[in-house]
Symmetry: C2
């Protein structure tokens, strides 16, 4: 294949490391950037800035520029803590404006097959946070995948033994769905969790 | 929306300027990069390197790090020149290993509606190159879009007036196609351009 230049080849290699970016997308992105040197410079410097300034919050292990992060240092309800797998899950829950407590990011989920054991997650840090805290309820908001459910079961047992109220996000029919197209397991959970009208 | 940090927000903005990258893809890319600071640094420095080192070849207007580019300075057939719209078209033709002449990149196609006139393309530079050159044939390999065809017609007329042999890439059935699914205009061109068995 024609190699335009060594730098261009290296940029293609780096772009191909991104999720969902293959040979053709990398070429399209690279040629797009090449046409706008200003954007290329801005992207490079914003990447550098993130690499330098963004790190994990020492309290909740979400990502932040200041430590502790704005949620950990902000005026929120100290009695409830929501445990999520990744910082982007915090984002999804913040978007719904229905939760005003604190967060704790596990930075993953249990997955014995991939070698992810409890010691690799921020579980020790969560237990440390809960010790002598005002927390009364822990909402386990791990994903509803096999790994997320396993993590929820594992955590739930430990936290209940500490005498805490442990909850899990509700299962049910997503808003705007046609019931006929929803999978049977979800409908079953929706029936079990039905509420009075 | 929860703003993790100013730098992170700026990175999202820059990623969203890329073609095909919206809010969700930008978040996915940014979180992916955040998990691998090494890749983030490598991507930033490769962007910088391309911005600094890669420019247009002063002969063919393709992209290159050295001037003139490896094709312009290489051992190729000086009698044939292939005119393409963009550097990535050069790449596509080089990939087929069927062409050993030189290239000329127009850096676009005529499009009166978007205000792209002949003076904005590298047409004057092409005519300058052809003057007193050994070129006997010009292959017009612009795209088969409305703009590409218009550019081909425009260029074809000028080049024929200069007494050059002007050719266009063949139309026909793509390899591996089922004839029944190929559009009628393509089949018509394939019949017209049929060759003896």
């Amino acid at each position: 294949m024609l190699q335009f230049s060594a730098s261009f080849g290296r940029l293609l290699l780096e772009l191909k490391k991104l999720p969902g970016v293959g040979e053709k997308t990398a070429l399209r992105l690279a040629f797009h950037l090449l046409r706008s040197p200003g954007n290329m410079e801005a992207l490079a410097s914003s990447l550098r800035a993130v690499a330098e300034n963004v790190h994990f919050c020492s309290v909740c292990f979400g990502i932040t520029e200041d430590d502790p992060c704005s949620i950990c240092s902000g005026d929120r309800d100290d009695a409830v803590i929501c445990v999520v797998e990744e910082p982007q899950d915090m984002l999804a829950i913040e978007r719904c404006h229905a939760f005003r407590g604190r967060y704790h990011v596990l930075q993953g989920a249990l997955s014995p097959l991939s070698g992810i054991t409890p010691s690799q997650l921020r579980i020790a840090e969560l237990l440390e946070r809960l010790r002598n805290s005002q927390v009364r309820e822990v909402i386990i908001a791990t994903n509803f995948s096999v790994e997320g459910e396993a993590t929820a079961l594992y955590l739930g047992k430990i936290l209940k033994d500490l005498g805490l109220k442990v909850t899990r996000l509700a299962h049910g029919i997503p808003l705007g769905s046609d019931i006929e197209y929803v999978d049977a397991a979800t409908v079953q959970r929706a029936v079990e969790g039905r509420s009075e009208f």
